[in-house]
């Protein structure tokens, strides 16, 4: 891969991350599953479980269909106190793997409950596998690993 290509793919991946943050924070969250391949998976886990070798996830979606179910529940089924989130992503480490890219990045998610101050809800690491499908980059795997094991009350919006 040439250096020019490196910068091109980095820009494309950063655009995917920006779009993901935009859909989660500004909506419509119902469009967020479209950033995944049909067989794409999303997991939110804590570092404690990763370190202990335990597979438990806070959220486990093993298909785009399951991600659609999660998003539908957030929008229509769950009783939640109104909130706003803000996802920041930085320090992307990109490694090509065949036709895919393995990407690690740092993330922070802030949360603002209605009437309350903004708090840092989670900080952690994304471990992603990104592929080109139907003409666009999409997540085939996205795992968000929270540094803290202790969640501040409820995890509503995906990390």
């Amino acid at each position: 891969m040439t250096e020019a290509n490196d910068w091109q793919i980095r820009a494309e991946i950063e655009a995917l991350y920006a779009r993901s943050a935009e859909l989660l924070d500004e909506g419509p969250i119902s469009a967020w599953p479209s950033l995944f391949t049909e067989d794409g998976s999303y997991k939110a886990v804590t570092r404690e479980n990763v370190d202990q070798g335990w597979a438990l996830a806070l959220m486990l979606c093993e298909s785009r269909a399951a991600i659609e179910d999660r998003v539908y529940a957030i929008e229509h089924l769950s009783l939640t106190i109104p909130r706003r989130t803000r996802h920041l992503t930085s320090a992307l480490r990109i490694a090509p793997e065949g036709n895919a890219w393995r990407v690690e990045a740092n993330f922070v998610m802030f949360e603002t409950l209605a009437g309350a101050q903004t708090v840092c809800f989670a900080a952690g690491l994304y471990r992603d596998k990104i592929v080109r499908a139907d003409g666009a980059l999409r997540f085939q795997e996205r795992t968000a690993i929270s540094d803290s094991a202790l969640i501040r009350n409820s995890l509503v919006i995906p990390l």
Binding site: E48, A55, L56, A57, A65, D69, L77, L150, I151, N153
Partner: protein, 405 residues
């Protein structure tokens, strides 16, 4: 000194959720009293030298498996100056050493090393009458049953079997049936509400059939499901036992549920691919064990939930999801998938953590208000339905006697 308003427990004064003095009393009489506090599962510390950090009330404890396989529960506090000697949630070690002055303890808590105990070059050292054996890590009473570990600060504890009573023991043994357990993972959340709200939530099947769209719509828990609400003879433990509906058609029970979604269908149906795994017909059993444990079986997700109080207006809920060592690959995958229902992001339990936040906000500054707990009457007897708050009344009946309120 506070006094409980009126007779019975069909009204609960809001100060039990907010008063710092009541809370301090609870730490002494409820968590620190004659109670078997759940502290973990043996499968979390399977090998000699494995330890986990846990809590009894607000007290930090180390749950550790010794060289002989015996489990000790030690107060996590150096006998010298009171530091926490164990600084990790899980680990493996041969000794616990306080970082401050390197006092060293064996896995059973015995103090084995005090640097400069006889001084240096004739200077200093501990007094001649210092007896090392008098300064061990404090050991709590410990009992285990079929893989679950309980501890108590009281030295004279009744056997766990008597503590639970025959009805609750049988329900406990339903999930903890002696098979070896396998840890699926741990979730932790800090809920901004009084710890008793968590027990009330699980002892309140009335809300479950209304608040939880997920449960109701998919028939996992509905007011018209065959159900029972049962207590032990003291009222301190309870269980909700229910069987999933196969007929999900709307009816009189769903008419009053604002949240019922008749047309809802999952895109990925594996989430509710439920397999019968217990001999009876119940599909959900939620058991609460005084003073800090919930045992959850809903679909194929099994978990203990440990309630850890953090002041009067917050608690940590520690979920340990588990299965059995004999689970095949399909069951392991299923348990992970069904765990989506529960935990800090659970399709079901998310509603509860949000509601507990709202409850605490609502009662936070109300000194004279009272909760109304009269669904299903004012008594504390077992019911063969779930349109009742009887288990909450039974809980407070025992709570009043334990607290002297």
């Amino acid at each position: 000194m506070r006094s409980w308003p009126g007779n019975g427990t069909h009204r609960v004064p809001y100060w039990v959720y907010t008063d710092p003095e009541v809370y301090a009393d609870e730490l002494r009489k409820v968590f620190g009293g004659k109670s078997w506090n759940y502290v973990g599962l043996e499968a979390e510390i399977p090998e000699a030298g494995n330890f986990k950090r846990s809590k009894v009330g607000e007290t930090s404890v180390i749950v550790v498996r010794g060289k002989d396989g015996e489990i000790s529960v030690l107060k996590n506090q150096c006998a010298h100056r009171g530091l926490e000697v164990c600084r990790q949630d899980y680990g493996t070690t041969r000794t616990f050493q306080c970082p401050y002055h390197q006092w060293t303890y064996r896995l059973d808590g015995a103090l084995s090393g005090v640097p400069f105990i006889r001084g240096v070059n004739g200077h200093g050292g501990m007094p001649d009458d210092f007896v090392r054996e008098d300064h061990n890590l404090q050991r709590l009473s410990v009992t285990t049953r079929h893989g679950a570990i309980f501890a108590s600060e009281a030295s004279e504890m009744e056997p766990l079997e008597d503590y639970l009573g025959p009805k609750m023991l049988a329900l406990f043994d339903r999930v903890f049936d002696g098979r070896k357990l396998r840890i699926v993972g741990v979730s932790r959340q800090r809920i901004p509400g009084n710890w008793k709200l968590m027990f009330e939530n699980i002892k309140d099947p009335y809300h479950a059939s209304l608040l939880h769209v997920f449960l109701v719509t998919f028939g996992l828990f509905r007011a018209d499901n065959p159900s029972r609400t049962e207590m032990d003879s003291t009222g301190r433990h309870s269980a909700l036992i229910s069987r999933r509906s196969t007929n999900l058609a709307p009816n009189t029970a769903t008419q009053e549920m604002a949240s019922f979604h008749e047309k809802l269908e999952l895109h990925d149906k594996r989430l509710l691919d439920i397999v019968k795994e217990f001999p009876d017909s119940a599909t959900v059993v939620m058991q609460t064990i005084w003073p800090n444990l919930i045992v959850q079986q809903q679909a194929n997700t099994l978990a203990t939930r440990q309630i850890v109080p953090v002041g009067p207006e917050a608690f940590d809920l520690v979920w340990t999801f588990f299965g059995y060592e004999a689970d095949d690959e399909a069951m392991r995958a299923r348990r992970l998938r069904h765990a989506n229902l529960m935990g800090p992001a659970g399709f079901v339990s998310l509603d509860d953590s949000e509601v507990m936040d709202l409850a605490q906000r609502g009662i936070h500054c109300d000194e004279s208000g009272q909760a109304l707990v009269e669904m299903g009457g004012r008594g504390t007897e077992d019911h063969d339905h779930i349109v009742t708050e009887t288990a909450i009344r039974a809980f407070y009946s025992y709570y009043r006697s334990a607290m002297g309120l």
